[in-house]
């Protein structure tokens, strides 16, 4: 019975044989050498140039933040009624980008998508750095940052206590939990690879730091047993977490009564948009990294192809949500809601709305065609559109909904100041600088997981080709 099942199973597996996850039959040693050497060779010139530019840009952001804190939030273009503008736009933009990393590391792990192994490490790193950038904005937009501890439920003598029924407080918990869990998940995944770097370390400094960071990992199966369980549990925890974080972010809007925000479609729509924007950002940074480090055998064209399909899917969900918002605004019969949506498409911010539609809904439709999914330049261009489009989406939701609310006498336009603009531009510097440090100090591809998806990693590998009969006999005896 079991044998018959195994045979039909094997025959079926033969029929649906997939493209290899690592091309050109690379051996394990090649994978270790190739990935680890990115951190071992001295930094190439381009790295120093890129790092100098990113770090300088990051300094611009820090300067703007210092100026904001020392002067007051009046240096931003916020006014009445647009009390949230670029700050929250940027926050939602960055936190959304992070979600693709968690999706790749957790959801694709639970669904046994083995192709995730070569991209999950970098995507998770991207998550952390994006959340770092995201966290800056809500922290500094409170105005008097020395009172930011009001966000935390700290017992105090000032009679200050948090309103736990407020979505803004949920957000504090959601984002800080998300960051913490992402760090734990990332570090857990890194431990075996840090052991690899430790074992390859030539100089004292590397031996010391990687030795400490690897925590004494030995790779024994008694360790792997608990390790795999921990990884599975973390993936299981991160999956609902990632869905909850952006749902909670959307509650910041959806639970208010502002026309254009007060909609039930927000949570799923925000989650789809986050994954959409995040995958575009993964490709935006992975495609250059792959080209520079020659990682084409690990991050194959199939990987890019699959990510493009996810972008197409989530982009279409986002497009559906845009259409559904309009439909419900009309069908709901609320004149403020109807006006908010007509104003989005035809009002003074029409250009932002239509840029969003073009970038998020129209541009990804190219990915229906294999030619565009397989052509790196096209993929990169579409991803840049999506990156821009997802920023516009948040800008449209926040600013167009606020600038014309119930009372026409309070209507006002929003104009960003130089501080708004440079704080945001500078966060790209923070993000890229952190990413550049990451690729120099840590293996950007999960070495051990990639080895585990090689054909020779399967303990029953080789039986089928060479000695099927004896192997079957051994199996029968063992069970």
């Amino acid at each position: 019975m079991a044998d018959a099942f195994m045979q039909s199973h094997e025959a079926a597996a033969e029929r649906i044989k997939r493209a290899p996850l690592v091309t050109n039959n690379r051996p394990m040693k090649w994978i270790t050498d190739h990935v680890a050497s990115c951190t071992e060779k001295s930094a190439p010139t381009w790295w120093w140039i890129a790092f100098t530019i990113s770090a300088s840009l990051a300094m611009v952001s820090f300067f703007c933040i210092a100026y904001l804190i020392s002067t007051g939030v009046g240096v931003w273009g916020l006014n009445h009624p647009v009390g949230w503008a670029w700050d929250i736009t940027n926050f939602v933009f960055w936190i959304g980008i992070g979600h693709a990393g968690t999706l790749i590391s957790a959801i694709l792990f639970l669904t046994r998508q083995k192709w995730r192994t070569s991209i999950n490490r970098a995507a998770e790193a991207m998550t952390l750095f994006a959340v770092v950038c995201a966290g800056i904005f809500p922290a500094v937009h409170v105005g008097r940052i020395w009172m930011v501890w009001f966000l935390a439920p700290v017992p105090n003598s000032n009679a200050i206590w948090q309103n736990f029924r407020s979505p803004l407080l949920w957000d504090v918990f959601a984002v800080s939990t998300y960051f913490t869990v992402s760090v734990l998940f990332w570090y857990t995944g890194l431990v075996p690879d840090l052991a690899t770097l430790r074992d390859r370390a030539k100089n004292k400094l590397r031996k010391f730091f990687y030795g400490i960071a690897a925590l004494g990992w030995r790779g024994g199966n008694r360790q792997w047993k608990h390790y795999e369980m921990a990884y599975l549990i973390l993936a299981g925890l991160s999956t609902p977490l990632v869905l909850s974080v952006h749902s909670v972010v959307s509650f910041d809007f959806a639970t208010s009564v502002i026309p254009g925000w007060h909609t039930t479609i927000f949570p799923p729509y925000f989650v789809a948009g986050a994954i959409f924007g995040g995958f575009a950002m993964v490709l935006t940074i992975m495609l250059p990294a792959r080209a520079i480090f020659g990682l084409h055998d690990l991050i194959t064209d199939d990987h890019v192809d699959k990510m493009c399909k996810i972008i197409l899917l989530t982009g279409s969900i986002v497009g559906y949500a845009y259409a559904m918002e309009f439909f419900i605004a009309w069908y709901g019969g609320n004149m403020f809601e109807q006006y908010a949506f007509i104003n989005r498409a035809t009002g003074p911010y029409w250009w932002a709305y239509w840029s969003m539609i073009f970038c998020n809904v129209v541009a990804p439709q190219l990915f229906w065609f294999r030619f565009f999914r397989r052509h790196v330049l096209w993929v990169f261009v579409v991803c840049m559109f999506v990156n821009a489009g997802m920023w516009f989406e948040r800008f449209v939701i926040i600013v167009t909904s606020l600038h014309r609310d119930f009372l026409p006498s309070s209507w006002n336009m929003f104009y960003p100041t130089w501080v708004d603009i440079w704080t945001f531009v500078g966060t790209f510097g923070i993000f890229l600088a952190l990413f550049l440090l990451f690729i120099r100090w840590l293996p950007m591809i999960c070495i051990f997981e990639v080895k585990a998806v090689l054909p020779e990693a399967d303990p029953h590998h080789g039986h089928d080709e060479h000695h099927h009969e004896p192997a079957a006999a051994v199996k029968g005896a063992a069970h």
Partner: protein, 186 residues
């Protein structure tokens, strides 16, 4: 027989290298069937089915994580409900503060459950694995550096009741072990 570490110090055990994941799997089955208890196989990545080949039970980390999660849920429930409904009710826009406002507490209950579960998963895994630790006798063996690259090893500890230099060596040879080495502590 080759030795590693300082032969004056305590014997850790005997280890051998095998050529592949498949060989390691079969070696594990043989060591298991020979009745050894204190031993382990080392590989650059987790090998599917190895727990069965070694005769190991499922990791009980999940039970720890469950306790961690329940703790998080309890903390969140008390943190929110007690002050917000009983000790210091905040009336916002004339809305109620009684127990029926509990759905508003669900997001933070969920977040703290996940947070404490994740802490338990990571640190519980390290604790069950006896990590972090500064050193381990097996690192005295130079061959073992390959374990994080492409090496597969079997090691039988000297504290195993069935450990015996002759018979253990014969057994490691029979599973195709190369570089059979006695490993000592520092």
């Amino acid at each position: 027989m080759e030795t590693a570490g300082n032969p004056q110090s305590q014997l850790f055990g005997m280890a051998a290298e095998v050529p592949s994941a498949t060989a390691l799997y079969h070696a594990a089955e043989k060591v298991r069937d020979a009745g050894y208890k204190r031993w382990d196989v080392y590989s650059p990545f987790p090998i599917h089915g190895m727990d069965h080949a070694m005769g190991l039970k499922k990791s009980w980390l999940s039970a720890l994580v469950f306790i961690g999660g329940i703790t998080g849920l309890t903390i969140a429930s008390i943190l929110q409900f007690y002050p917000s409904s009983i000790e210091y009710p905040l009336v916002v826009a004339g809305k109620p503060t009684n127990f029926f406002t509990v759905p508003a507490f669900f997001p933070i209950m969920f977040e703290l459950t996940v947070l404490l579960s994740a802490f338990t998963a990571t640190f519980g895994m390290l604790a069950l694995n006896g990590l972090p630790r500064w050193n381990h006798p097996i690192f005295n063996w130079n061959e073992f550096k390959k374990v994080s690259d492409d090496g597969f090893f079997v090691a039988i500890e000297a504290t195993d009741p069935k450990f015996d230099e002759e018979s253990t060596r014969a057994m490691l040879e029979s599973v195709g072990g190369k570089h059979i080495t006695l490993i000592y502590g520092d």
